[in-house]
Amino acid sequence: MTDISTNDTAIYAVRLGDDALIHGHRLSEWCSNGPFLEEDLALTNVALDYIGRARNYLSYGAELLGQGATEDSLAYQRDCREFTNLLIYELPRGDFAFALARQYLLDEFETLFLNAMIDSNDDTLSAIAQKSIKETRYHLRRSKEWMLRLGQGTEESHQRLQSALGDLAGYTKELFEMDALELALLEKGVAVDRRALESQWHSAVTAMCEQATVSLPNQGWEVKGGRTGYHTEHLGHLLSELQFVQRAYPGCEW
């Protein structure tokens, strides 16, 4: 591989790492805030999987970047404009319906994405995908069950789920976007073609929503920008918390 493509791969790994880190962080905010203890356990479990994934991606990205980068320097020393996670991951944790609806939509996406990434000719990415897909299959089973429970539960749970889907819809489009960097990496057999996942994702989601007697509205709005560091205002607040200790006591081992 040429230098340029190594760097592209590094950026790609960091992108995926940012997605996982911010998602894991939001999930971890549920700890001791779940509706009952079993769910505290379960949400923490999913959070852990994502933090683990983030570490895999970011340490790979750091390795490719060189120059002393580490998973922690990437997580703790970049400001909002340098983070490249997609926006859907950074939205505040919301209520339980929002958390589970987001999780469900992402689980369907991740299933397709990781499945495709297993075939990446980048061995590390392929290995991460193989490990992660197992977790995600389990997450998906769980989040599907919740879609049913909330969708078919009470009037209130149905409404909350529906409204969560409405709030999320416009943030899902970004999941299927390819920019020049990802297209170049796709060409090289490294990256996943996100565009190719959309229709399958959409069918799965539509079928599930039907079963849950809700729908993912298509109101024609969409918000994008995460890959260029153009975030919502929520990310900055998340980072001020995430990075506090490292920022307040720079240059230490923990």
Binding site: S32, N33, F36, E38, T44, I51, A75, F96, G153, C252
Partner: protein, 307 residues
């Protein structure tokens, strides 16, 4: 009461009492009190550590802390289940927590103020808990004893992790060292209080010992904890905040200073730094989750009806 006599004989013979066995009402009540207090402690104990999950200073530490708090939720679950075998529901247990009828370990009414507190809590608070729990592995009620075996294994893992956090800080910058020492200063005495009042002042102890719900006295366990902690502190350069600590050749134990029992009773009675926050947090989460629990019930009912 030949039943009572038989029961005590089984206890004396170190047989485990199982849920379906006959037991004195007072034994049952005493157990519910103790197990539920233990369960609530695990659950409320998620808060001071949960408070640092979003601010953990490395991804490695964040994952370890998350896993630890997850374990605590798991312990809470085992223990609620053990309590439920005694004929009380989860809902009742939580209700008693919210009304104040059931207690949780007073140590969790102290705040976690810096990252070093994750070390001090792991090392000292989990350390003290283990000393207590090791002895409870042989408690007379089967489900509780088996729960303890499982819990002890994980707790000693947690204690090592906490110790490792402090060790890392003590090898770090001056600010880090000060942070570690400060955390230990704050958590040392409350940890000693975790073993409860002196044996002479302990309300429930006598009967609990006879029934082998408790296997060792508060003061015995506390002494064990003090003895083991001193070496560990020295090994990484920490000073325990007690000028009276010294080896007593005669007793074969360390002497230590008098505990501030006024503080102990104040914290128990509601004037701890975080009593109100802890309960308010649990109550809020529980209330916010009400609609979710209702949704599950409604969904399960619908599923049954459609079968």
């Amino acid at each position: 009461a030949t039943l009572e006599a038989d029961f005590q004989t089984r206890i004396d013979n170190e047989e485990k009492i199982e849920p379906k066995d006959w037991m004195p009402e007072a034994y049952r009540k005493n157990l519910i009190r103790q197990i539920s207090q233990h369960a609530h402690s695990e659950v409320i104990g998620m808060q001071p550590e949960g408070n640092w999950i979003t601010r953990a200073p490395s991804l490695h530490r964040k994952a370890v802390l998350l896993a630890k708090v997850q374990d605590e939720a798991g312990h809470g679950l085992y223990l609620y289940s053990a309590a439920e075998t005694l004929g009380i529901t989860r809902e009742e247990l939580i209700h008693n927590l919210h009304t104040g009828a059931a207690k949780y370990a007073s140590i969790f009414n102290y705040p976690s103020l810096t990252w070093a507190d994750m070390g001090a809590i792991g090392w000292l608070v989990d350390g003290a808990a283990i000393v207590n729990q090791v002895s409870l592995q042989r408690t007379s009620y089967g489900p509780y004893a088996r729960g303890m075996v499982r819990i002890c294994k994980e707790e000693s893992f947690h204690q090592r992790q906490g110790y490792h956090i402090l060790m890392t800080l003590m090898e770090g910058s001056d600010e880090q060292k000060a942070m570690a020492q400060d955390a230990v200063n704050r958590f040392w005495w409350p940890s000693l209080m975790m073993f409860g009042p002196h044996d002479s002042d302990s309300e429930h102890s006598g009967q609990s010992m006879t029934w082998k719900i408790k296997r060792q006295s508060n003061d015995e366990l506390r002494q064990k904890f003090v003895d083991q902690s001193i070496e560990q502190a020295e090994a990484i350069g920490l000073t325990l905040p007690d000028p009276d600590l010294r080896w007593n050749e005669e007793r074969g134990h360390y002497d230590f200073g008098e505990i501030d029992w006024e503080e102990f009773y104040q914290v128990i009675s509601g004037s701890g730094p975080c009593n109100r926050d802890r309960l308010a947090h649990h109550r809020r989460a529980h209330e916010e989750g009400a609609w979710v629990r209702e949704a599950i019930e409604a969904y399960e009912a619908k599923k049954k009806a459609s079968v």
